[in-house]
């Protein structure tokens, strides 16, 4: 286990791609302390900002308010990062494996273009969770992102596969232009959910305003939801999937494309 305690808040956000199990797994204590981080255009040492304990491990613990520490877990393929505090932008971007857990909030671009692994943020996240960077054809390709509270704009924008669960509420344009994948919104979203959607699934456990280009199909309990319910159950999230409790109203769209996506809105019985 390597423990990194933030002792000096950077004046501007710190580019810290080195905070990654793949980077640190085989490094000595001295080598970890000397890892380069970028403060603006200036290169500094990791230990200018963090007190480092431990060495040569693929388990990292980051302590402190790291809201200005960017790129934690970038492109990691293995191991674990636990952040006791907040995390900055681009958390787990390009991730391929392993797990990240954040006790506080994270910022924009969590899990952007990731292709595997698990990211869990217990608090809020910013915008563009699991999304494509500007110009890219698709966002996250696989992996799972769990958000304990609310999310910002463009959750899963252009996503291609993988699963995002927002236990709280998302803002506008959740699933914008998504081409595949599954987004689950625990407490719904604001406007224009699923705009420009091509393929994929958005499940909302709360009523949401829908674009006029989404057409009602039927009320049913899709078989595949049970698979997701089991998978997410092991991760601590309950996805309703039994006919006794309710059904999902299925809306297909976005007809403007025309897309083959779907938005499933949970309708509890007794409503």
């Amino acid at each position: 286990m390597i423990t990194l305690t933030l002792v000096e808040q950077p004046v501007v956000p710190l580019e810290a791609e080195v905070l990654c199990p793949d980077v640190m797994a085989s490094l000595s204590h001295e080598a970890i302390r000397a890892l380069p981080v970028c403060l603006g255009k200036r290169q500094r040492r990791l230990d200018d900002f963090f007190r480092v304990e431990g060495e040569a491990s693929d388990e990292l613990e980051i302590r402190g308010d790291a809201a200005k520490i960017k790129w934690i877990g970038r492109a990691m393929t293995r191991g674990r990062i636990v952040v006791n505090g907040n995390a900055g932008m681009h958390l787990g971007a390009y991730m391929r494996g392993g797990a990240i857990e954040v006790s506080g909030n994270a910022s924009d671009w969590v899990g952007a273009e990731m292709s595997g692994g698990l990211i869990r943020v217990r608090g809020n996240v910013g915008g563009q969770t699991g999304a494509a960077y500007r110009g890219s054809v698709s966002g996250m390709r696989d992996g799972t992102i769990l958000v304990g509270r609310d999310a910002g704009l463009e959750v899963g924008m252009r996503m291609k596969r993988g699963t995002i669960v927002v236990s709280g509420r998302a803002r506008d344009f959740a699933g914008l232009q998504m081409k595949g994948g599954t987004i689950i919104l625990g407490r719904g979203a604001e406007l224009r959910t699923g705009a420009w959607m091509v393929r994929g699934t958005i499940i909302s456990l709360h009523p949401i305003p829908l674009l006029p280009t989404f057409a009602y199909a039927c009320a049913y309990l899709p078989a595949f939801v049970r698979l997701y319910a089991r998978h997410l159950g092991t991760l601590g999230f309950t996805l309703p999937c039994d006919e006794v409790s309710g059904v999902y109203a299925r809306y297909t769209g976005d007809a403007a494309v025309p897309g083959k996506g779907e938005i499933l809105v949970w309708n509890p019985r007794g409503n």
Binding site: D142, R161, T163, G180, T182, R199, T201, C218, Y220, P222, A223, F224, R226, L227, Y228, A229, R230, H231, C241, K260, E262
Partner: protein, 301 residues
Amino acid sequence: MATERNGVRIVDTFAEAFDMRAARVIITAATPAWARTAAQSMAGFATSVIGCKVEAGIEAELLPGETSDGRPGVSVLLFAFNAEGLASRLVDRVGQTVLTCPTTACFDGLPDASERVTVGGVLRHFGDRLQSSKFLDGRRFWRIPVMEGEFLVEEAFGVQDAIGGGNFLILGSDPGAVLAAAEAAVEAMRKVRGAILPFPGGIVRSGSKVGAKRYKNMVASTNEAYCPTVRGRVGVASALPDGVNSALEIVVDGLDRPAIERALGVGIKAACRPGVIEISAGNYGGRLGKHHFGLHELLQG
């Protein structure tokens, strides 16, 4: 040389079984009854690869906790000589008997097998481009729109090496006693996971020999050495000891050697009952199949 158990003579011989490839299909449904209905339909007319192109049977009933979607289910094992054959049979059978059956979903039961064949990936075309897929945990599932709602079927199914043709013969004093012994054997063998009994009720009343002696161009013909009514005829060498008036065969296919050993073991022990005179087994002198199951060794387990 023979051993005895419960007064039944166990011939010191072996069953000769063959290399096969197998797949496992898990069918879930709203109720155990519907899962069983689909499974029985799927595993029907699948007694021997020779005439049916595949051998299949119900392996076990599964509890909701044991299935991917948390519903009651049934697992079916299918055996054929090669993966291409299995693939075609799976597509045909899942398409005609599981897709068509209310409330079912269909999953691969050999997720660790490295060789995969495409099943859902072919059946998806039934959706006429209205189908969609979901990718979860490295597995792809197809959702095919049907009148009832949606049929969920896994894209690819695993294929593994397996063994087919494990067997033993029950020789007894009369058909009733032999059948009762065979039924008892079947009841015990059905509890063994990894093995299935492809024949009706698990029992073969018409065990066969390779080819024919008196006709040309036959794949198989009656195993005259064990047929009681032709004992003593000119040109027939009978293997039936004195007192035997009827014989039945139990055939078992299994995913591996231990499964077949377990199944044969519990089956033979259950068949050693009053009215049974001898337990034997079928083989070709060890020349055709590479898996040999010695009856004495099985009873030591």
